[in-house]
Amino acid sequence: MDTSRQHLNRLLARLFTSVPLVGRIWAKFAPIAVSADVPWTPYDKPLAATRVCLLTTGGLHLRHDQPFNMEDSDGDPSYRTIPADARPEDLCITHNYYNHQDADRDFNLILPLERLRALVAAGYVGGLTPNHYSFMGHIDGPHVATLQQKILPMLLARLHQEKPDLAFLTPS
């Protein structure tokens, strides 16, 4: 376990939260691979006929579910499933790399499930998939391959069973 890197990650995340300019400068020079292409699937359904799936990298999960592993400095590439009818009191956040005090008070800041349920009830959005998905982000080192080769195929198989017309993703 590389605790010095964990501390560094935590320190950087807090610095970026309190001084956003530092985050932007970091991002400009960070060794993030520049993608060559942009994948594309057309979307032209009316919103009232659109079935939405929500995904976040905010570390949200059901209280009784296994928390994300914060001990691994390369992150935790797994995801947690959040049912469409989850209540706020059933949810919690395990994530040390951003300040989630506000999101703890209102999970809709990172996974707007209650807002979407109201939109569906009012007929403005067509529906919600039975499940929604949460990651913790900050995936590095060997876990990038784990995410790409193992975790994402599992997620995609589930999404294709649940058939969203649109996936809405939020960072933390």
């Binding site: 932007r24 991002a27 993030i32 993608s35 699937t41 707007p112 807002r115 959005v125 996936a167 809405f168």
Partner: protein, 97 residues
């Protein structure tokens, strides 16, 4: 997050995301994103501000239908000193919340 979004889109499901770090999003190149220069941990805004959260959702969903491939749209909301109202098109949410 961009990696996940790109994989979902490539598998045939359209996606739209919120970006709070434009410089990263420009490199990762997700299919569609709306950008807000807001603090980490607050992509939908402030706790309990239903009108603010619905405004972001409304703008992201509307953008998803008109976006060009790879477009990142800057939403015009500052972090503070904005007054939000429930989007007009979603007026039935006024009473119920």
């Amino acid at each position: 997050m961009g990696l996940i979004q790109r994989a979902i889109e490539a598998s045939g499901i359209p996606t739209v995301s919120i970006s709070i770090l434009r410089e990263v999003t420009e490199k990762v190149k997700p299919p569609r994103a709306v950008f807000l220069r807001w603090p980490f941990g607050h992509p939908l805004g402030e706790p309990g501000n239903v009108a603010q959260q619905l405004t972001v959702l409304h703008d992201a969903f509307a953008f998803a239908r008109t976006a060009q491939r790879g477009e990142i749209r800057d939403l015009p909301y500052r972090w503070r000193r904005e007054t939000y109202r429930i989007p007009e098109e979603w007026g039935r949410l006024e009473s119920g919340k």
